[in-house]
Symmetry: C2
Subunit: 338 residues, 2 copies
């Protein structure tokens, strides 16, 4: 059918059927101790018969808790929001808390609108997930706690959760070094992204510790696209034909790198090892060969966001920027030399 809509069954119906008062029915259903076992059983049975489901709105009116949180994202399309959102969703048990999803699409006006709607729905808290890992404007002082995920707030009084891009760059290069590579190049995306800078910085740091410098002389900044990955690789091969490893700043770029290497009949990983970043599954797993990459651990980030938010809702707010670890995911595009 789909649309059956009789009047919804209320606690009063249950009470009537069980032959008790509404108050008693309420206590029985909520496991309050001061109810005779026999009575409770009768009420529970009645509730089941009518398939009663308590009106959460009414409960919320009393308890001053709606049992909902708002998830304000700037780019749903983006692959970043989704895992975070899933992590958050399952950290709040579905029984306890439901999440309102709002996509502002990078539009401040729309964000304001959504915020207003959420507040008027009396959400108990808010998670704000940004589109890219750069600082975003704080929502300011709000009547409910807020956690910023992925993109940190510009106000240090807020709590922000971000991925460790510097650590990721370091991890990637470290892995390459452990594979015995010494002539390591770094091709990455838009230098305007904090993520590009941080990943490069981590890579450079680790290289320096080893007394190594970058093959090709410098970081190849460009765009977050396969095409740039291809173009940069061609130039790199030209200038530095003896490169033995390439750290790509994203999986998209890495795909471009692999393509050109394949074209030039340079074997991966035996001649050149390649490592990506993001673990964008459809790109990384389908690559030829499957791509070793740095996984952002985004679900974990989402779970942590939910936990911090719960803590804040229970009166233990935290502030500052918390950096969450990323991890290496090895597939076949890297291997020890020889």
């Amino acid at each position: 059918m789909g649309a059956a809509a009789n009047r919804a069954v209320t606690l009063r119906d249950v009470a009537r059927l069980a032959g008790v008062s509404v108050a008693t029915a309420s206590k029985a259903l909520n496991g309050q101790p001061q109810v005779r076992a026999e009575t409770r059983a009768r009420v529970v049975k009645a509730a089941e018969q009518l398939s009663f489901s308590p009106n959460t709105l009414a409960q919320g009116l009393i308890t001053q808790r709606s049992g909902t949180v708002g998830l304000l994202t700037s780019d749903l399309e983006g692959r970043f929001s989704i895992p975070i959102l899933m992590g958050a969703e399952d950290a709040f048990g579905s029984d306890q808390t439901s999440v309102f999803l709002c996509d502002a699409r990078g539009d401040t006006i729309r964000e304001k609108h959504h915020l207003r709607a959420l507040l008027s729905r009396r959400v108990d808290g808010l998670i704000v997930v940004g589109a890219r890992p750069d600082t975003r404007p704080s929502l300011g002082e709000l009547p409910v706690p807020v956690i910023y995920a992925y993109a940190p707030s510009d106000d240090p009084a807020d709590l922000s959760l971000v991925t460790d891009n510097i650590g990721g760059g370091r991890l990637a290069v470290d892995h390459l070094i452990r594979c015995g590579r010494r002539r390591i190049a770094h091709i990455t995306g838009d230098p305007g992204y904090g993520a590009a800078q941080d990943r490069a910085r981590g890579a450079l740091d680790r290289l320096a510790e080893e007394g190594l410098s970058l093959a090709g002389g410098e970081v190849w900044f460009g765009m977050w696209s396969e095409a740039w990955g291809r173009g940069a690789t061609r130039m790199l091969l030209d200038r530095c034909p003896d490169v033995d490893a390439i750290f790509a700043g994203s999986d998209e770029i890495a795909r471009g790198v692999l393509d050109v290497l394949h074209e030039e009949r340079i074997d991966v990983p035996s001649q050149v090892a390649v490592i990506g970043f993001d673990n964008w599954h459809v790109l990384a797993a389908n690559a030829r060969p499957p791509l070793t990459t740095v996984d952002l651990n985004l679900e974990q980030l989402g779970r942590t966001a939910a936990q911090r938010l719960s803590a804040a809702m229970d009166g233990t707010p935290v502030s500052g920027v918390e950096t969450l670890p990323v991890r290496l995911l090895t597939r076949e595009s890297t291997a020890p030399l020889r």
Copy 2:
């Protein structure tokens, strides 16, 4: 700050500040006619001063409408749910309706849980988005209207919205024919998917109308992966070297097809035209050359779902299966012969 949480301001506070009764304040704020303009102004000003935001829960208690809908998806990861969800989100103006997002991850138990929670939150309606375009079990009779999107319900009494896969297959082949191709092959995914069967069927139909049959003799069913696209293409080239167009059942497969063609130095589109399916942006737009493909119009599907749901909530339920059109998106991997 983040957690400021004084007591939320209520209509009573506004009324007091404006020096009127709660009832009058309510009327003033809700644009009821029977309020003197001067009074209304005073109330509105007071509300602004206190940055009052009406408690939607309380309103819902009275109007018997929560102004929320549930979005029950089976695979958030999947690229399919997201655009649908976005379309739905913006078809319900954010001022009117907010959406609860729940991901059941293909687990029936979890689905039941979510359903229960949603119902107890008194959602006004439900959109159920499946993971793959095959029939799924109906949720049965519910106290609110339900729309099934992408994956149709097995109960014809429900309303389901699906994409036109047969039409899509037809569209793809039609385009190839208009490009002057006569030796058209079809490489596609898992034959257990209705989508694979339907796309093939549409392709075959259109071919038949033209008196043509499939290059390579039959449909190449396999898996939804780049690797299968590559493997199938190699076999195809072997068996049928004069093929002049390949219709791939998905963009992933198409990427594999392009790879092998490139390897064999067969030019796309001058020698062989290639068309994909799904318009999975990161794959299609970054392909070499950029991939002509069939766009599923998923946002539109989401919008339509929202509209149908609104209609049903207003008392105009519909049932059956509604098939929504897909559309051709031409990029550079197809072109007229010569």
